[in-house]
């Protein structure tokens, strides 16, 4: 990873963070998702297939990670970009890279939450600018406070720390760190990684399951892969799911129309 690549990735950390200049639709809920982030990092560092495998790992674990009411448990943008970039620098195969992805995602996520809390406090000063603008009856100061002020703080708190971390990763990247990691730790992290996918799935279930019958619907998808996984792909199951959902919708829609 050279300086140019590090700058580019740090820029995406900023764009994908919550409340960046491109808005949450394009940023936090798009560039900030691990699957998208892994694709972007893969393109920048020139290893899309490995990046995507790592992205799937993180995306599964953090699938249920949503931010109701702005309460941040984990900064996904920081965790994803730093995690995958670090893993790609230190590991060239999936087995070595996946031990590093958790380490660096942890570091990135923790810094991210600290920066979010800092911006949440620092932005309060911008209210003074906005209030002054309101007193003067000057709408232009809203832009100054909301965008210029808010994004100066946002950019400094996201881009700069991310760049520092990425450059440190880059600087130590020459050493073969994988050699120093004992085999039991790699094995343990791989076990941990496989189990972490249950976190995302479990949280997601807590959003989706509202009636008992929903468990049966969930089990349908599970059994299709568990028993017939050698015959059907994930995409095939998704198509079946879409057909069932469509049939359900059409049948009940007609009922509503008849009543």
């Amino acid at each position: 990873m050279d300086i140019f690549q590090a700058i580019l990735i740090a820029l995406f950390v900023y764009l994908g963070s919550i409340g960046s200049i491109i808005g949450n639709t394009l940023g936090w809920y798009n560039l900030g998702r691990p699957l998208v982030a892994s694709f972007v990092v893969g393109l920048i560092l020139g290893n899309v297939p490995l990046a995507l495998e790592l992205g799937l790992l993180l995306q599964l674990a953090y699938l249920g990670s949503v931010t109701p009411g702005g309460a941040m448990a984990w900064d996904l943008s920081y965790a994803s970009y730093i995690g995958i970039a670090g893993a790609l620098v230190f590991g060239s195969t999936f087995d070595t890279a996946q031990s590093f992805v958790w380490l660096f995602a942890g570091i990135g996520g923790a810094i991210g939450v600290a920066m979010w809390n800092l911006s949440y406090a620092l932005n309060i000063f911008l209210n003074r600018i906005a209030q002054k603008g309101a007193d003067e009856g000057n709408p232009k100061k809203m832009f100054l406070a909301n965008v210029v002020g808010g994004q100066t703080i946002g950019f400094v708190l996201r881009f700069v720390p991310a760049l520092v971390v990425l450059l440190s990763i880059s600087a130590t990247g020459g050493t073969n760190l994988a050699e120093y990691i004992p085999a039991w730790l790699t094995t343990g992290l791989s076990v941990f990684g496989g189990m972490m996918a249950a976190l995302g799935m479990g949280i997601l279930l807590s959003f989706l399951v509202k009636k008992k019958i929903h468990f049966a619907v969930f089990m349908l998808g599970f059994v299709l892969i568990a028993y017939f996984g050698s015959m059907i792909t994930m995409l095939g199951v998704a198509v079946i799911a879409a057909i069932i959902a469509f049939v359900y919708y059409t049948m009940n829609d007609k009922k509503a129309g008849a009543l």
Partner: protein
């Protein structure tokens, strides 16, 4: 006196400001207050541009504390535009506008978080992951599809809701929630999501049970418990772990971080078992 009206251009401008800059200056004091006031500036210019006092008062009205899920919540600035237009023509008073804005916070946050953020996004992502997982060399299609479908769909939704808010004012919230269509769409999407989540669980969650019994002489593996469990019910342990996580998060209200700690401990124990029984 001519009736005051917000120009189409200003409405569009207000929506774009909201779409891109709704989260630029979130803070503990007024949350989205500055973003909301900023969104209202083109409208305020139209309605009160000729009076410094009125402009000042309008800006102060909208700098107050506000929060919502910002994508579905685009309906809120839409409604505020309608209310300001009515106020400029002597329809509603300042207190009403503030009270309505406060009242909008709860329901729009709830709908936005539960329907859009917690349902649509994970479902789209699971479909994207399914594509990446099964498309081999074309794995990049998954994220690319998400990067096109999600922002574009949300852009249209946000614009539609903003305009609905302006057109129907307060009635729009009722219209949006009462139409049975919303419930039906949510239920259909939930079914789609649940099947895919089930498949993802079977496909990605792995929980080994590295315990085996070897014969004393020769060291042949007599019983491999992992294989035994999977021959009775394939991927039983991943299913069990997922349901346990669901129970801990959904019913016992554990935080994700606490669950992560539990998983780390379990992983350590299983790894240790693997070394003790000589599987690893």
């Amino acid at each position: 006196m001519a009736e005051k009206k917000i120009s189409k251009k200003s409405l569009t401008k207000a929506w774009w400001i909201w779409f891109f800059w709704h989260g630029c200056s979130q803070q503990a004091e007024s949350m989205l207050g500055m973003a909301f006031a900023h969104t209202m500036t083109p409208v305020i210019d139209d309605l009160y541009g000729d009076s410094k006092e009125e402009t000042s008062a309008a800006l102060k009205r909208h700098l107050t504390l506000f929060n919502t899920e910002q994508q579905v919540g685009a309906i809120c600035p839409g409604i505020a535009c309608a209310l300001e237009e009515q106020r400029a023509n002597g329809g509603v008073n300042d207190e009403t506008i503030s009270a309505i804005k406060v009242a909008l916070i709860g329901p729009t946050s709830a709908i936005g978080d539960s329907l859009w953020v917690a349902t649509i996004i994970p479902i789209l992502l699971t479909i994207a992951m399914a594509i990446t997982r099964s498309a081999g060399d074309f794995g990049w299609l998954g994220p690319v599809l998400y990067m096109v479908a999600y922002p574009l769909g949300t852009l249209f939704l946000s614009n539609y809701l903003f305009r609905l808010g302006y057109r129907s004012g307060l009635d729009s919230i009722g219209k949006f929630m009462e139409s049975g269509k919303l419930d039906l769409i949510t239920e259909a999407l939930t079914i789609l999501g649940l099947v895919v989540v089930g498949a993802l669980t079977a496909s990605f969650v792995s929980v080994p049970f590295p315990v085996q019994i070897k014969s004393i002489e020769g060291g042949n593996v007599l019983v491999n418990f992992d294989a035994l469990i999977n021959s009775i019910f394939p991927k039983l342990l991943p299913l069990a772990l997922t349901l346990v996580v669901y129970r801990l998060v959904g019913k016992k209200k554990w935080s994700p971080l606490a669950v992560m700690g539990l998983i780390a401990i379990l992983a350590a124990v299983l790894t240790a078992l693997g070394y003790i029984f000589g599987v690893y």
